[in-house]
Subunit: 229 residues, 2 copies
């Protein structure tokens, strides 16, 4: 299925249908993809011995799947046979700013958040695994797949890669000023507004063991100063 | 128990003892506290209908507990009686940069991450609840507890606040250059190093309904340009 054949809206399930803050829900595939593409790490939720475990990890994606290294979920995968449900949750969050209202109660956060649910598939085919590692690398460190040494056969065998369908997703977006500007609290005469939060890449720092003559490649230098998120 | 009476090291449990990347583990209480204090949102992991759910939310802390609004965990709390284990996981992650190695396999992320596990307690005492809301507010938006209107009795009643002990914690810290500088890959002659990632607060944006004469208070203006994380 090519991208153009994928439905442009996401089908809500009981899990992804928002029960609170319905005004923030989006079921546009484009919003999901934009949030995933703008992200750097996701937070992976797995159940280990009956307890939720939330682990940050890098990821990549194509049109159908999100890919993560299996090692971070290894404790879950190892014990998967014991678990009734192997469904995992992957959350990507961008914090765009703080919403400062007239009352403490109305304070909030502007954010973009995507949550995916599904039973991940462990990749076994070497070509599929290599392509997933390329997607993770190029999402995390664009340009490095062609610059750095690619995984050897041995490294590939040592790496577990999981694919999670993008099909079951919940997308929430909150933006804009506080909404108590027309409430009784507006009479308090307080300042209200937002304080933006921005994440940027800095200048590359060379490994101290490198000779000073070894300068960073253009694709790394070009990222310095750009926004992440 | 005052802070000085708390043990300075954290006692590892089966859950918090690192099974991989042992070199990154810290069991120093000071590291845990520094990571929590530097954070803005946490990712809360709960089990809902047997499935992990990872939700971003703001938080606050004192010397013994981390506090979150219960609403974000409401789906879990509502169904808590059905769940065998009500343990939750709270993860706070700072991404400090990308580690660019000579091989794709050795690429990584410099980060500071704290994971807390425990069965949260729902606060019922109004004074304790108010203090927890003060801590969440002052962690998220320093100065606003004294500036904005504080929660009314009705708002307090409408807010669920959870306290999670800081006792069972896993702290991981990864920093520094790639470690393949003395491997065979060093002979490839590639550049290697790190690309730092920094998050900063921007200039405040006033709610458009405010008159232009209403300027932001000093504690908000002072935050602009400062680093978060």
């Amino acid at each position: 299925m090519t991208h153009s054949e994928l439905p442009r809206t996401l089908t809500p399930t009981d899990r992804t249908r928002l029960r609170r803050f319905k005004e923030n829900a989006s079921f546009e595939r484009a919003d999901l993809e934009a949030i995933l593409d703008a992200g750097f790490v996701c937070h992976l939720g797995v159940i280990v011995d009956g307890v939720p475990m939330v682990v940050p990890t890098v990821y990549g994606r194509d049109e159908r799947y999100l890919y993560v290294h299996g090692s971070v979920a290894s404790r879950s995968l190892t014990g998967a046979a014991d678990d009734a449900d192997e469904t995992i949750c992957v959350t990507v969050t961008h914090v765009d700013g703080l919403v400062l209202a007239r009352s403490v109660f109305e304070h909030g956060v502007n954010y973009r958040c995507a949550m995916l649910y599904g039973v991940p598939r462990t990749l076994t085919d070497d070509a599929e695994k290599t392509e997933a590692l390329r997607l993770i690398t190029e999402h995390t460190a664009p340009g490095q797949w062609d610059y750095a040494r690619r995984p050897s056969r041995k490294e590939l065998a040592a790496t577990t890669v999981l694919a999670l369908s993008l099909e079951e997703a919940s997308v929430k977006i909150s933006a804009g000023p506080p909404d108590d500007g027309d409430s009784a609290d507006a009479e308090l005469g307080l300042w209200a507004g937002t304080l933006p939060l921005t994440t940027r890449w800095g200048a590359p720092t060379a490994d101290p063991v490198l000779p000073a003559s070894r300068t960073a490649p253009a694709h790394i230098v070009a990222r310095a100063g750009t926004r992440q998120g």
